[in-house]
């Protein structure tokens, strides 16, 4: 599907642009971390080590005096929340390991991103290509529909859909656990269904617009007319001639959308509308109450998000520079 020429431009740009390599590294780290979360995570992310809560990341923290209530008596005990290797990035208020939670949270983000991206790509490309190719009534109606969907801010729409549909969490058995490769990890992972549907419903329109633009520009080319004269069906023409042409701009747009999806997912779970607590946004929300003391609870998950999205954006830049320097860096 990706032509030889495209591959060459990509490789050439990658070599001359070390920043793009950084992007790939960051993104691949996210993917690998998320895929193999059960193995890479040092602890069960849901397990509460109640004696080790509020533990700082390695290199931080201090010994301190804490006033606590034990057996009805107020006592001052020594507390030590300095970071240890057991919990490299610290623990949250309930003693759950932050690093493990971050990996599982990344997994949630990735699952949602993949699912939402796939749905949007399918729906958007199909709609856009058809609309652009056939033009006329179909096109006008589709474009009005796109306008209507675009009129609603993505987050608002997602929230509203959440309000109607509820969380719709699907529990997917974790293959790494059920196959026995790891133990002492959650046996199934929660997949936020509504979040995925909600995000897809607002992302597909951007893809549709680009696909339609490509179809429009290619529609009147001579080789299309030639193909039609030779008796190719419309479907075949779209598949063989129109679709490959729009791959490049959609690929570039895809990276931008991926970043948006990840940020949307974390925003939704931050606000508490996710359906799963194994999410980076959720952890950040949790950490808000402890900014003055256990500041790492809110900070660490965010760093993971930023790193992932920076990686995706750098890859997007790489694609844009290599494939089409004419595309302006914009879009959702």
């Amino acid at each position: 599907m990706i032509s030889k020429r495209t591959q060459t431009s990509l490789k050439r740009e990658l070599r001359s642009n070390p920043i793009a390599i950084l992007g790939v590294v960051l993104f691949m780290s996210l993917v690998i971390g998320a895929l193999f979360a059960p193995i890479l995570a040092p602890h069960d992310p849901t397990r509460q080590y109640s004696t080790e809560n509020h533990q700082a990341p390695i290199g931080f923290g201090s010994e301190d005096q804490r006033t606590v209530l034990i057996d009805g008596e107020i006592q001052t005990i020594a507390s030590d929340n300095r970071g240890t290797l057991t919990h490299v990035l610290g623990t949250d208020a309930n003693g759950r390991d932050l690093f493990s939670r971050a990996l599982y949270g990344a997994r949630t983000s990735l699952m949602v991103a993949l699912a939402a991206m796939s749905i949007s790509l399918l729906l958007g490309t199909a709609t856009g290509l058809t609309s652009g190719y056939y033009g006329g009534r179909t096109d006008s109606i589709t474009m009005r529909l796109v306008d209507i969907v675009l009129a609603f801010p993505a987050l608002l729409m997602a929230l509203a859909l959440f309000g109607i549909l509820g969380p719709m969490t699907i529990w997917i058995p974790d293959p790494l656990v059920t196959s026995g490769l790891v133990s002492d990890r959650p046996a199934s992972v929660p997949f936020p269904g509504t979040v995925t549907i909600a995000i897809s419903s607002v992302i597909w329109v951007w893809i549709a617009r680009v696909a339609r633009a490509e179809a429009l520009s290619v529609k009147n080319e001579e080789y299309i007319t030639a193909a039609r004269t030779m008796g190719m069906s419309d479907f075949q023409i779209i598949r063989r001639h129109v679709l490959p042409n729009c791959l490049t701009p959609i690929l570039v747009l895809g990276t931008v959308q991926l970043a948006t999806i990840i940020i949307l997912e974390s925003s939704l779970s931050f606000l508490g509308f996710s359906g799963t607590t194994l999410s980076l946004g959720f952890d950040i929300a949790q950490g808000r109450s402890y900014l003055g003391t256990s500041w790492w609870i809110a900070s660490i998950p965010g760093v993971f998000i930023v790193a992932a999205v920076v990686g995706i954006n750098l890859i997007g830049d790489w694609l844009r520079d290599a494939l089409d320097p004419d595309i302006q860096g914009g879009g959702a």
Partner: protein, 318 residues
Amino acid sequence: MSTLAEFIARRLAQGVLVVWGVVTTVFLLRFLSPTNPAVLIAPEDATAETIRRIEEDLGLNEPITVQYLDFMFRAVQGDLGFSYASNTAVTSRIIGSLPATLELAFASLVFAIAISIPLGIVSAKYRGSKIDYGSNLISLGGLSTPNFWLAIMMVLVLSVQFGLFPTSGRPFGPTENLSSWIAHMVLPTIALGTYFMALLFRMTRNGVIEESGKEYVTAARGKGLPEPLITYRYILQNSLAPVVTVAGLQLGVLIGGSVVVEAVFAWPGIGSMFIRALNSADWPILQGVLIVVGTGYVLINIIVDVINAQLNPQVALS
């Protein structure tokens, strides 16, 4: 060849169509849920009695077309329904919360534009310099950082650690206590406006780089025009058109972002109201906000198109 007036008229007509679509979509949304719409509309703790009353009030036993026409009819007149959870009309609640959100949105817009455009021009002119490199770095960060996390980090460093700004709230409006209002506005504005600023920066920079290489710019120099005028009227004016277009499209992101930022800073605007409505299942408020936001977005995009037409008459007249 049409004039500006015809152009506006055409866009308005299209806009009305879209707004109609918006209202219709919002109306249809409640049917996505398997539950009885009356249950959706009633507050969570409503009794069966209340639910029956709601059913009658809204004519939920009538055929759908009648319900729809009734809904449309009322919406056009500005009646967006009644919130049973808070016992007030939706429209008045929205009007009450709108100013705070508009303040934030406007301030963020100004913040974003004031930084991105001059920085974009400078970066383009001094490509490869330290300023360019630094701006690109900041822009990358701004595009990649979720606004709520940026907000929380700023609160952590600037409010909790250094006590420079208040952590949340909007105790006074600008007319009541200006300095307090400003102090409370700073962090939310930066949190909300950063993504937009980063996006506009990139587009401006790319646009200026592209336009600067074109022949009419060389021709302008050849006829002796002063360089600052060339930068402004020749390069900038022509590079702004795509920037303005994308800005208009991205406004939705800004409005969506205000929901989250308002939640973080307990800013009493439409966003906070929306979240509260979600948590108490106050569907009329959700409907009302969606309609208002959707309509507002359509209007803003029409304005954006008109601005574009002014910047680049070739597009409008053709």
